[in-house]
Amino acid sequence: MEFPGLYNYWIAMVLMMMGLYIVITDPNMVKKIVGLSIFQVSVFVFYISMAKVRGGTAPILDDRFTVYSNPLPHVLILTAIVVGIATTALALALLVRIQAAFGTVDEEAIKALERET
């Protein structure tokens, strides 16, 4: 295998694993959401770089250009970004309520509090 080869996919994968690792291991629930965002963004990078054609330009109908990047995945990611923002906003709103109800956003501490009741 040629290294780095299509390095854009390596970047996406490394970002993805970093995000997932934070989601799984970090006890701080705000940082978990940061990890979740990194995880989602890695997929955006994946889609966007997938559609890029080397030497291609934006898909504008003009005689001077013949090579275009594929616009469809880019448009899909616009939608996915909106979904990602909604998810992050909802998660942070939940965390504000959790902070108010439990007085902490640490997962272990909350688990201990829940076990008491």
Binding site: Q40, Y47, P73, T79, A91, L95
Partner: protein, 492 residues
């Protein structure tokens, strides 16, 4: 003509209800508006059913952009079954749950609660009707995001952490789905399901397509409550407002299973199951869920949690039937999908009644309830019997077909596991029924009345459908068998 636009109206009606409801003030008004919109959606589903029965599958091009470039809504027999189930259960929950919502949701938040509920219905309907894999993701997120917010409206503060946990796991699942779609698009250049089916068969053996399948399978597995990635489900069901639990348990995971059917069988074809070890993995996961979740259910002290674990076990049955990868197995899976939705909605509605009268649903609260709430507990008992698989209920029909399908492929041992798991179901449901019917109300317990009439009617409507389809099993079985044949037939 309006009848040609029913497919888009099916999604638009509940979707447009949400912003309208968000602008309203007052509980009664928003309740009536939401119920009206949802019932209209149910009527549209009936209209679509009539169309599909008379003229076959309906295809609708959004904005008149012809598929595969435009987004296509595609409605066939299986879609119609799911539409009837989602809109029917939503109507039953709203009509029956009025009082329970009034108790559990503060007046100030009621319009927003109904707006979220309608959004959730719209998302689930959209996932069902769409023939475009990315459009499906958008609807998946509409329904998921509204579910997270609905779960967070539970009264206990633990509802907040349950919603948070669900949000994190659910988002990871949905993102996995997007990755799978991206890989599929990379290899085929299309997002339309029918188009994908045709194009995937040429590149089926590439690693990219196999990776796509793995991502899609795990992503959807999270959403449908597949056993090793199920952690969100018991907490979410137990902490959500009672009516929300009833709606979610009856529909949300079932729609995810439906999407799994569409993607894995519709696009990749049954060949990918039989040619790889995927079939064995799915069967193993199914059996694991049947046994492990049933055993967990036995040790629960709260009825809502108990039923949540029971849901996981039932999902196990469905996965197992899918893993058989035969037409009989698929028929059994569709049957079980449909009737499990009905049974769980009934059981959770009965719990809604108990929670309304007693304020909680711990096991010991059921002592002697049959005297105080005879109609509620009888509906609960019938649905419980159906869950175990007693004849004359729809549960018997699906268990029967499941057993037959298992017998055909894997023989006695697996059939024995199914029977054993049914006995476990009896073990975890019996204490509830026994407490309700054979014990006395504890001395000094407050007097309680029967559930409100609307709730009883909603419960018994679902029970009636259950028993009717259980007795006239031929009708249900034919519908499921047809749907299974079409799914398999999609791949030549």
């Amino acid at each position: 003509m309006i009848s040609t636009h029913l497919p888009i109206l099916q999604v638009l009606v509940p979707l447009l209800a949400a912003p309208v409801l968000a602008l309203l003030r007052g509980r009664t008004l928003s309740y009536l508006v939401a119920t009206g919109f949802v019932v209209v959606a149910f009527l549209i589903a009936i209209g679509l059913t009539i169309q599909v029965v008379h003229t076959g599958a309906v295809s609708y091009a959004i904005g008149n952009w012809a598929p595969p470039l435009g987004i296509e809504y595609r409605i066939d027999e299986l879609t119609v079954i799911m539409l009837l189930m989602v809109t029917g259960i939503a109507s039953a929950v709203l009509i029956g749950g009025g009082q329970s919502i009034a108790v559990e949701i503060p007046e100030r938040r009621a319009p927003l609660f109904f707006a979220l509920f309608c959004l959730n219905v719209a998302g689930l309907i959209g996932m069902t009707v769409t023939g475009d894999v990315f459009n499906l993701f958008v609807f998946l997120e509409i329904s998921s995001l509204s579910t997270y917010a609905l779960v967070a409206m539970g009264r206990d503060r633990r509802a907040l952490t349950a919603a948070y946990q669900y949000l994190v796991i659910g988002t990871v699942g949905a993102t996995f789905y997007v990755i799978g779609v991206g890989l599929l698009y990379m290899m085929t250049g299309t997002l339309n399901m029918a188009d994908l089916t045709a194009r995937v068969s040429g590149v089926e053996s590439t690693l990219t397509i196999k990776t796509a399948l793995a991502f899609l399978f795990i992503g959807l597995g999270v959403k449908l409550g597949m056993m090793p990635v199920h952690f969100w489900l018991p907490n979410a069901y137990a902490q959500a407002p009672s009516t929300v639990s009833a709606f979610l348990a009856g529909t949300a995971t079932k729609v995810a299973v439906y999407v799994m059917l569409r993607i894995v069988f519709g696009i990749f074809g049954i060949g990918i199951f039989t040619s790889s070890y995927l079939a064995d993995v799915v069967i193993a996961l199914g059996i694991f869920a049947m046994v492990a979740a049933s055993v967990s259910a036995i040790f629960q002290s709260d009825a809502k949690r108990l039923l949540a674990y029971s849901s996981l076990a039932q999902i196990g049955y469905i996965l197992f039937a899918l893993g058989l990868a035969t037409e009989a197995g698929l028929t059994a899976a569709i049957l079980h999908l449909f009737n499990h939705g009905l049974m769980k909605a009934t059981l959770f509605l009965a719990l809604t009644a108990v929670a309304l009268r007693l304020g909680r649903t711990r096991l010991e609260d059921f002592d002697g309830l049959a005297q105080a709430m005879p109609a509620t507990m009888l509906a609960f008992a019938v649905a419980a019997l159906s869950l175990v698989g007693v004849p004359l209920t729809i549960g018997f029909v699906s268990k029967w077909y499941l057993l037959a399908a298992a017998f055909d492929r894997d023989g006695v041992l697996v059939a024995a596991v199914i029977l054993g798991s049914s006995l476990l179901a009896l073990l975890y449901l019996w204490p509830l029924v026994e407490r309700a019917y054979f014990r006395k109300r504890p001395a000094g317990a407050p007097e309680i009345e029967e559930a409100p009439l609307a709730l009883i009617l909603a419960m018994w409507a679902l029970v009636a459908v259950n028993v009717f389809l259980g007795v006239n099993s031929q009708f249900t079985v034919n519908l499921a068998a047809n749907a299974a044949r079409h799914l398999i037939g999609a791949v030549p």
